[in-house]
Amino acid sequence: MDLTYTPEEEEFRARLRTWLAGVLPELPPKPSPRDWPARRAYDLGWQRMLYDAGYAGLHWPVDAGGRGATPTQHLIYLEETEKAGAPYVGANFVGLLHAGPTIASEGSAGQRARWLPPVLRGEEVWCQGFSEPDAGSDLAALRTRAWRDGDDYVVSGSKIWTSHAEVADWCELLVRTDPAARKHRGITWLAMPMDAPGITVRPLRTLAGSTEFAEVFLDEVRVPVANRVGAENDGWRVTMVTLSYERGTAFVGEVVACRRVLSEVAREARKNGRWDDAVLRRRLGRLNAEFRALWRLTQWNVSEAQSAGGVPGAGGSVFKLRYSHARQELYDAAAEVLGPESLDLGREWTLDRLSSLSYTIAAGTSQIQRNIVAERILGLPRGR
């Protein structure tokens, strides 16, 4: 059990810190969360800065244009960027954390050359066309159809909860290519250009009032067969590659962010006198313990991933389950500290409190995570 970092890792941390301290004051002001074109430009601009400094695709393999950093270096990167208040991955999330790693792992040489560099250089944005109105947690129930017509697939159906769809260049799309096959078979992974004819994007307003996601309607959209990643009808396996990344290291920066917010909540409580309430104070103390423990679990999972060659393990489900609830408790506690002020939508924590409600639903609901833990980790019999 070793929690110290090697001299090389400490040097990496110091270099990154110096660079962040130099560039962050130069950044333009953050755009409004409702202005998607401005957010796209801002997030791509930040990605370009990372690229020029050699930090783009840090954890991607070298032959995919990445830096081949170890999981520990990636952990340090996420910790330091969050601590320094650097921009969130934002509109580049799907490209850098989902579609990119999937193409790097499963794509052909030509596909890697076409799609990976623009993600790293901050030139193209990806969105995720997985969920459907009748296939959210039960992803394999998806019905969007694709059939072959010459060198194209013709795609019809609809997708939902598609983040960044309004401003995306590409969509990692799951389609059903064999309706007769059992539901996990017969699915194919396609890269769909978002400017193809037949695509209609309709923004969805969330309970927070913003348009985080969109519905995407597909009416006989033609996608070249060359855009298929992996074999036809092998999309489920390809998808699992993607999801394991989502559940592995995707939340590292957010734990650091929650720890920072919790300190701010405590400082606010000291300022407005709520700190004298022992019940509230102890609740914040317990949250501090929870987020410290989640940080340690992150370090544990990263150590496990490092020994397994960088592939995140099933421990990600345990982490996601606890983290998503802890995040909601954090903003509930923040509201308690703010008192009536917590009803002001102009307060950052009020918006964050509303956003946190999605955490137990997105990327596999808490109930699905518990099924995964019970059946795949604990080996309980399969339920129905």
Binding site: L3, R282, S307, V318, V373
Partner: protein, 337 residues
């Protein structure tokens, strides 16, 4: 950074597990419970007079006949011979020369099998109290409102003046309560004073024992859910049961990361976090395990209640949850979070 256990640590953990399971397996546990239960039945009417001796008691005065004793002296000496108490003593002083992480792994295994006795106090006394390291002398200490194993200990560290026995909920942890000092219950009230090094270690090793117990009850629940059939299939195929078990594992794994990290850093805030998470994992884990076992879990024959009662008992050691929560809250405004 490689947070995983080293090969040596894994081997040590397995060795300690083999020792405990061989020497204090289920039959030994139930025999000890029966011994304690029989003694309680015989003693209960006279217990109210509470004639515990005052602090610094040393030697065998006031002992009852061996037959009435619950603490297995032979086992204690075997633990001593195996190096459990001297685990962290330098080799030059006749110890095993291991560190805090190794000790935490050993206490985790002790918690797993519900090893009885003032293990932590004796471990902390090794090197200071003659005979403690070898398991020849049983040491307990007063570090809060309660003292464990007062009547069976040879040496008591701390002031136990006025200690009165209570009928302990855990049959294998005899308890005395201490009188309140300056109007406050001991261990309650203000927390500004930093813990002593022994207080910190007691809290950390307690967390390790809770972790072991939580892992054991999780395994027990899963094993039962896999085999017990209702409505024509194993109850573990029902989502309601699956989700109880998944929650148990999630608590164990978060507690494990916290406890192991605290053993590496020995940081007081890490220890407070470890304690809070491990107490929760052990208490809620035992309750959920009981729930999964259904009616069987409510019987004396099932071991679940022994885990729950011991877990409850441990939560009162070295300052309860309140103190850990306050320490953790202090850390938030100290700006080191």
């Amino acid at each position: 950074m490689d947070f995983r256990l080293t090969d040596d640590q894994r081997a040590l953990k397995q060795g300690v597990r083999d020792l405990f399971e061989g020497r204090f397996g289920r039959e030994a546990l139930r025999a000890a419970v029966d011994r304690a239960d029989g003694r309680r039945g015989a003693d209960a009417p006279e217990r109210a007079d509470g004639k515990a001796t005052a602090g610094g008691r040393e030697g065998a005065d006031g002992r009852r006949g061996e037959g009435a004793r619950v603490l297995d002296r032979e086992l204690w000496r075997e633990l001593g011979a195996a190096g459990f108490f001297a685990l962290r003593l330098p080799e030059a002083e006749g110890g095993v020369g291991q560190g805090l992480p190794e000790a935490v792994l050993a206490f985790e295994e002790a918690g797993r099998v519900l090893l009885p006795g003032p293990l932590i106090a004796t471990h902390l006394a090794a090197g200071f109290v003659a005979g403690a390291a070898a398991g020849e002398v049983v040491v307990t200490s007063a570090d809060g409102p309660l003292v464990e194993w007062l009547e069976e200990a040879d040496v008591v560290r701390g002031d136990v003046t006025g200690a009165e026995p209570l009928v302990p909920v855990d049959p294998l942890t005899p308890l005395h309560r201490l009188p309140a000092t300056d109007g406050r219950p001991p261990g309650g009230g203000a927390f500004r004073a930093a813990r002593t090094p022994d207080g910190l270690l007691t809290s950390l090793f307690t967390a390790a024992e809770q972790l072991g117990s939580a892992a054991r009850t999780c395994e027990s629940a899963v094993q039962h859910a896999r085999t017990r059939e209702q409505f024509g299939r194993p109850i573990g195929a029902f989502q309601a049961v699956q989700h109880l078990c998944a929650g148990m594992l999630a608590r164990v794994e978060v507690a494990r990361a916290a406890v192991y990290a605290a053993s590496v850093t020995a940081d007081p805030v890490d220890i407070a976090a470890a304690r809070l998470l491990a107490d929760e994992a052990a208490v809620r884990g035992a309750r959920d395990c009981l729930q999964v076992h259904g009616g069987i879990g409510f019987t004396w024959e099932s071991d679940v209640h022994l885990h729950l009662k011991r877990a409850w008992t441990r939560t009162h050691r070295a300052g309860g949850a309140t103190r850990s929560e306050e320490e953790s809250a202090d850390d938030l405004v100290a700006g080191t979070a």
